[in-house]
């Protein structure tokens, strides 16, 4: 089934969702510092925390304010909770290569105690961070003043027991584990297993399985490196564990295929259990067909029954029980198909868009150019294009659907393909696991939208 290109609102649970602007985070000015470019966005399992990673190796975590029951205009706002430098630039002396500090992915662990844990990764190293709150501190030391200076011992005449007193909330982030030196190529994905004890990390040619407690070794579970690198034809582009089956994971390739592997079958999962591939539509063949079929993201549905893949022009939903074709295909920006040559010239054809599910798996979302992002309702088959922009965005302003005019006469309020700004791309989006709250990252700003609450 192909999603139709309509405008208008979608329905969720019988009522039409109207998306409203809620907040925008980040610098206002147009001059974007490269270090501030957002490279990943992820809600935690409860949706209370929202983490972003940027090109400068920094992680910023936002926390949702507790809802004020009286003022139920909107759900709580997200405010900065913690900021820390996750990765620093490194230098590989052996290869004379700089290792970028850019955060490629962040994945949250489910909360087990008062502290929060997340995994963040750059091209080579994965780190487990503990984020904990401190709201009391010990006071009344015998040998130290309150400011930390040591007292003259001769002035100590009495003994007292220090006590904990309340202090301003401080959120501390500390690296608890560093998983390094396991990847020759650039890490593109990390995924935490449903056993909450292990996780996988994937680079262009290999996938490794780690235990969260063990940093000095990992198991290689997929290796597609050919004996002769000249025979290389495809690379791994994304990988994810199944949300419920701890033995199952998938990985996507640059050739547009997805392989599902069962770790019970063998130690090295080079032979897939299932291969998902759609035969190419011959009428769509072009010079750049091969590179636009590369899958940039793969995400299981929350139910675990479906998975979604994103290639350059479309989003596909696959039923895990059917390998020969997707059950649904949605065109994100088909009008770009005739512009592939220009998009190759300006490198946009290599952009890696991500995609995400809503909490109930009824709607999927992905980004596009001109700061547009698209949502596809799987039930109603309606889709909508919205824009993340600071203009006309006051809190609780309902977003106006946008439309791109592919060719011919441009209607009022439509935007022609040639006036799209290809520097304004939305690669990273995230959907709150339970509510209709979405986080959309433009180049250096993070937008938060919510559905209109009456």
């Amino acid at each position: 089934q192909i999603g139709s290109l309509g405008g208008g609102c979608m329905s969720g649970g019988g009522n039409d969702i109207q998306w409203c602007f809620s907040q925008v985070k980040g610098a206002v000015d147009d001059d974007v510092a490269e270090a501030d470019i957002i490279s990943t966005v992820e809600f935690n399992h409860s949706g209370e925390l929202l983490a972003t990673g940027d090109k400068g190796g920094r992680v910023v975590i936002f926390q949702q304010e507790q809802e004020n029951k009286i003022q139920s205009h909107s759900r709580g706002e997200y405010n900065v909770y913690s900021t820390f430098q996750s990765h620093e630039p490194e230098f590989d002396y052996l290869k004379s290569l700089e290792i970028e500090e850019k955060i490629n992915k962040i994945r949250w662990l489910p909360q087990k105690n008062a502290a929060q844990f997340l995994l963040s990764t750059n091209d080579k190293t994965i780190k487990l961070w503990k984020i904990s709150e401190r709201d009391k501190r010990p006071e009344g030391y015998n040998l130290k003043e309150e400011d930390g200076r040591y007292r003259d011992p001769t002035t100590v005449t009495t003994l007292r027991v220090p006590v904990f007193r309340p202090m301003d909330l401080m959120v501390e982030a500390s690296p608890r584990r560093i998983f390094a030196n396991a990847h020759t190529y650039h890490i593109n994905s990390i995924s935490i297993n449903s056993d909450y004890e292990t996780y996988l990390s994937a680079d262009d040619l290999r996938i490794n399985l780690w235990h969260l407690e063990i940093t000095d070794r990992s198991f290689n579970i997929v290796d597609i490196k050919p004996a002769n690198m000249e025979e290389l034809t495809e690379v791994i582009t994304a990988a994810e564990f199944h949300p419920n089956s701890c033995n199952t994971f998938v990985y996507s390739s640059s050739k547009g295929t997805i392989r599902l592997c069962d770790m019970r079958a063998s130690a090295l999962c080079d032979r897939h259990s299932k291969l998902f591939e759609e035969p190419e539509d011959p009428s769509n063949r072009s010079f750049f067909s091969e590179i636009i079929s590369s899958i940039s993201d793969v995400k299981f549905s929350h139910s675990g029954r479906y998975m979604m893949t994103r290639d350059y022009l479309s989003v596909k939903i696959w039923d895990l029980n059917m390998e020969n074709r997707p059950v649904e295909t949605y065109q994100v920006h088909e009008y770009l198909r005739s512009k592939l040559c220009s998009l190759y010239e300006n490198d946009c054809i290599f952009d890696k868009f991500e995609c995400c599910w809503n909490g109930s798996d009824s709607v999927v979302m992905t980004g596009s150019y001109n700061n547009f992002f698209r949502m596809f309702d799987r039930n109603t088959k309606r889709d909508i294009t919205l824009e993340a922009s600071r203009e006309n965005n006051k809190p609780r302003t309902v977003l106006k659907p946008r439309k791109v005019c592919a060719s011919g006469k441009r209607k009022k309020d439509e935007i022609s393909v040639d006036s799209l700004d290809f520097n304004k791309k939305i690669l990273h989006t995230a959907w709150h696991p339970k509510e209709n709250i979405i986080a959309v990252a433009t180049t250096n700003n993070l937008y938060i939208f919510q559905d209109k609450v009456n």
């Binding site: 700089e98 091209d123 262009d204 025979e231 011959p282 072009s286 010079f287 067909s289 300006n346």
Partner: protein, 219 residues
Amino acid sequence: MEVQKEAQRIMTLSVWKMYHSRMQRGGLRLHRSLQLSLVMRSARELYLSAKVEVHEPEVSLQPARFLDPRLHSRREAEAEAEAAPLDGEQPSPEPMDTQEAPRAQEAPARGGPCPAKVSRKRRSSNLSDGGDVGLVPSKKARLEEEAASLEIPDRLQPSPAQAEGAFPNLARVLQRRFSGLLNCNPAAPPTAPPACEAKPACRPADSMLNVLVRAVVAF
């Protein structure tokens, strides 16, 4: 000719991107390199086929042979250049892949002379008919489509290099993407890559191909 120029432009662009990606922070990205090399090879295929078309409008196929462009591309490129003036000297005797035989049949239906030109070079379907493929010009039907006057060479002309394993669908790609290429809106040509600028400007276009091919091999 336009096709040739376009293919050359894309080849140049691809090589420039390859060199540029080496200087990027974080080092060479395998996925990007692979994608660039895919486009590069497609463009080179197109360039070679268009080039051969210019000089040899009428083409018959050799029996199925395989040519690994990485290993033999330089020789092949030179062979192409040498073969240009219709003396049809036998190029390197490596076999070439001729997977796309059935596709070649479909090409005429697409209209326009160029796809037909490209597909003609890969007519290995005649092989299945048996017989003396190399000797008989079997494209009479296609010849009629051609506007240019044709000469039937006595010599055989090799198919352009086709990578085996890595890019088995290239011929199919070439047949299709033709319209894509001509329809696309090229931006202003990129500044010449440093590698190309380093070469003397007086070299003919064929040597440009050698330069680019060498770049791919070295890469």
